[in-house]
Point group: C2
Chain length 200, copies 2
């Protein structure tokens, strides 16, 4: 592709380094910014830079944070005895969005995946174990994706957490609420029968 301007080419190349964005989309976004007023691009560039250079990871739960501790860890309203283990900040956001959880989080920063060369040492597992020793954690909820990597990671964590004597649980798996039995995949439906819940 011949670009009419070197500056356009640079912008397209940089944008297309983002995941899921190819050269064509990058060009569309570039041309969109060119059409808009200059302050929009300036605000975007500033927001990206501030986000990357000024945020850090919460020293306790490894969630993204503006300061030393994240909003959740520093809130007196949250229950520190309930710890929810998730893969990344996206999962924290998803669970926060439900307003059903009042405990704190621990962000692993990844998932065990031999194919991608990610082992337990690459994840925030040591700090999870030391939190359980230091803080008064009563229960650890494993909220990992129901995939092979998620199950592997959950299995590894269970093995590591067992000696601490903490209660370990996992989020419920089954047919989604509002879903249709007919269209549920057979693995989910099969597991939802095996792990059926008795009416109290």
């Amino acid at each position: 592709m011949n670009y009419p301007s070197q500056l356009i080419e640079n912008a397209v190349n940089e944008i297309s380094k983002l995941p899921g964005i190819g050269k064509k989309t990058a060009l569309r976004l570039t041309l969109h910014l060119l059409k808009r007023e200059e302050p929009q691009t300036r605000t975007l560039a500033d927001a990206l830079l501030a986000m990357r250079t000024q945020t850090r990871f919460c020293s306790r739960c490894h969630n993204i944070s503006d300061g030393e501790l994240c909003n959740i860890c520093s809130s007196p309203k949250r229950d520190p005895s309930l710890l929810c283990v998730v893969v990344d900040t996206r999962d924290v956001l998803a669970i926060e969005n439900t307003s059903q959880f009042n405990g704190t989080y621990h962000v692993l920063g990844g998932i065990i995946s031999p194919l991608e060369g990610i082992g337990p040492a690459d994840l925030n597992i040591e700090s999870l174990l030391s939190r359980i020793g230091d803080e008064e954690v009563k229960e650890v909820i494993l909220a990992l994706n129901p995939t092979m990597e998620g199950d592997t990671t959950a299995f590894y964590l269970q093995k590591k957490l067992k000696p601490t004597g903490v209660r370990i649980s996992t989020i419920a798996r089954g047919v989604p609420i509002g879903g249709d039995l007919e269209y549920a995949d057979e693995v989910t439906l099969g597991r939802s029968i095996v792990s059926r819940v008795a009416y109290d």
Copy 2:
């Protein structure tokens, strides 16, 4: 959505102002940048800013340009007597990519669309007419999208260009090369029969 950090929220909001990017994708891109090294975000922000603040429009053809005249207008290899009228820079790039055109361009900067409130006065039509008067243009090729807006714009331009006596043509429309007659839509197929081309 509750974001763990104000800086993240700002970045997500700014990214999601781009067309075709919602809050979820914006968050995904933000988290991607957070995972990568700081220089990547810095380079991206710089490239966006440089692209927006340092590029301008070619004073002759309104294509995007690093200087007063774009690479195409300033090239001695291009034929200035052949003028291809397109909607925006993307179309210039698409035609350049074919390596089949050796003339110069005129970028309208939009298309006549009463629904979106875009009229002839919003487009670079006056400068097109004055170019035909000033430069030695022999033929104007209308390379507009085969849509209602494109046809309206082409009709308007034909009316305006007729008094100048310049030769006016349009890009050929028909069944795409490599396409299958069976799967061509009926409008395209119908038009390709009506505007059939005789073997010489």
